[in-house]
Amino acid sequence: MRRAILAVIATVAGLLALLSFKTHSSERTTASVQPAPSLPKGERAVTGNVANTAYGPVQVQLVVKTITAAGGKSQAGTILKVNILEQPSATQEDTQIGQYAFPKLIAETLTAQSARIDAVSGATYTSGGYLKSLQSALDNGA
């Protein structure tokens, strides 16, 4: 019985140690920070907090059109652009995810409703036009 208790304690201690080392080491992972671009008039940048995702720290900035509503107050309007300010790039997997997931993420953020679509219908694109299209992002992102 005593051996059993020792085994349980050792296992739990080992788990806690492994998990906390892993959490600390990933927080120290270098993240690539890109400078936010300067904006023309009528556009405003809204910067999110750094989010700790399963891939590492991510920070997203939305560039929105400012709308001057009645009474002169300016409000955030449509989303014009999404800038990734910080994304994990410590491992090759991080960079790969960044290459594939973020364009898809950006494409999704720009939909009229930010829900996932399966295909894009539009005027027929050429093979060259396809490469720059949302459909290409969908075909490659899954």
Partner: protein, 442 residues
């Protein structure tokens, strides 16, 4: 077949075995470390813990099978009894780890997905690949664990428990694929999948080799058959087994084989019985005490019955150290010690404890051996009440075997006797490392 000396060179001792197992566990943890990018939130911690336990369990089951694969160098080096104890303890631990894995994964996924564990369980079972099979495997293992608990094992025959235990192979097969389909360490890494599969394949191959191929090959090669049965005592019989090339088996004194007598009523049972005499090239002898049904059936074995024998097994063999040797036998424990008594060189003392004179076997043989080599035999016969005091107390042992504390002691008998004898020997000054015995209780 290798000679005894060559075989000894290929041994794997207990410390080496444990070190190898531990090294493997470290490698498994390193696999988790390498494949985990970061941990986010409470759900991430739970899932991470679940993943670590899952990897350890997947590794643990392979090790458990390995321990029971009857790999000769390991059997000889670690000892069949120790391997069985490790397997039993390890089995309890690994099944607990597997259960922890399942529960933590359910909980962790539920927290991350902001759902309750019940619906998360349903999601896992119905949409994640191979999780349903893995869950069936888990329940099978819990069943095997339940059946292996001492209280439950006592209610069934050994064979029933033994064959139920084989469901663990089915469980391992069912659970294997979900490791690759759902395990984060494997889905993204071909290298990890390769080595993990290689590990499982290697152990599977070893099991098939040592538990199927080698016994079949030995069966064809040695052609063992029952030569005859002799009644040694009211409840004790010796079985003489004839064959060919038996010297190639390189059995050492104190070792046992796992015997399967191919006759109606006995063919589906396998029994470990020690050799009670060193084999010649054509004849072996085991001595069995009538304990229950099967032992009774053994007494009625017809000559010519074919015998399938796996072995030799056991680490309970004399180590040549140049010291004097004390052999301490209780009841049917005389069997392996009788083989040692004849085979040992140097100064040997044999203390043979039995309840009544009818239980003493091989008396004429033992006396003859003692006289031929100048060894001493003490028969300590009678119940505790008759003799007054504990006949195997430290004092009594020191008297029967002067210079006891400088001797190597080999001990074989029923569990109760073994326990008290070890205590007495220790009290008499024999260092623990010089007390050798085999204990098959688990």
């Amino acid at each position: 077949m290798a000679t005894a000396a060559a075989q000894r060179a290929m041994l794997v001792g207990p410390r080496a075995m444990l070190a190898a197992i531990a090294a493997g566990a470290v490698a498994v943890l390193a696999l988790w470390w390498h494949s985990t990018l970061s941990i986010a939130g409470f759900g991430g911690w739970l899932t991470g813990a679940g993943e670590i336990l899952g990897l350890l369990a997947g590794y643990g089951f392979v090790i458990l099978v390995l321990l029971m694969a009857r790999i000769r160098p390991i059997e000889r080096g670690v000892g069949a009894d120790r391997l069985a104890r490790w397997h039993a303890m390890g089995g309890r631990y690994v099944i607990s780890v597997v259960s922890g894995h399942a529960l933590l994964i359910i909980w962790g996924y539920a927290v991350t997905a902001h759902t309750n564990p019940a619906s998360e369980t349903a999601t896992l079972l119905t949409t994640y690949p191979d999780v349903l099979m893995a869950t069936v495997a888990w329940f099978l293992l819990l069943g095997v664990a339940l059946v292996s608990a001492r209280a439950v094992r006592r209610t069934m025959s050994y064979e029933t428990w033994y064959y139920l235990h084989f469901y663990t192979y089915l469980a391992i097969a069912l659970a294997f694929s979900h490791q690759f389909a759902d395990g984060a360490a494997f889905t993204a890494s071909l290298v990890a999948r390769f080595w993990w599969s290689a590990l499982y394949l290697l152990v599977g191959a070893l099991v098939i080799w040592y538990r199927v191929v080698v016994p079949a090959r030995d069966f064809a090669h040695h052609q063992l058959r029952v030569a005859g049965v002799r009644h040694e005592a009211p409840r004790t019989v010796s079985i003489y087994i004839k064959g060919r090339y038996l010297k190639e088996l390189a059995a050492e004194p104190g070792q046992f084989f796992r015997w399967r007598f191919l006759t109606r009523g006995l063919w589906w049972q396998s029994h470990p019985y020690s050799l009670s005499a060193m084999p010649s090239d054509e004849l072996m002898r085991i001595t069995v005490q009538n304990a229950g049904d099967h032992s009774g059936a053994i007494a009625r074995l017809a000559p010519g019955t074919r015998v399938l024998a796996e072995g030799p097994f056991g680490a309970f063999t004399p180590v040549r150290t140049g010291r004097s040797v004390l052999l301490l036998a209780g009841g049917v424990g005389i069997t392996p010690l009788r083989a040692m008594f004849a085979a040992l060189s140097g100064k040997v003392t044999l203390i043979y404890r039995a309840s009544t004179w009818q239980d003493i076997v091989f008396q004429s043989e033992l006396d003859a051996i003692a006289e031929a080599r100048g060894a001493t035999v003490h028969y300590v016969v009678g119940s505790r009440q008759d003799l007054g005091a504990d006949p195997l107390s430290a004092t009594a042992l020191r008297r029967l075997a002067p210079g006891l504390h400088r001797m190597d002691v080999y001990l074989c008998g029923p569990p109760g006797m073994t326990g008290s004898a070890v205590a007495a020997l220790t009290e008499a000054g024999v260092p623990r490392r010089r007390i050798h015995y085999e204990s098959f209780e688990f």
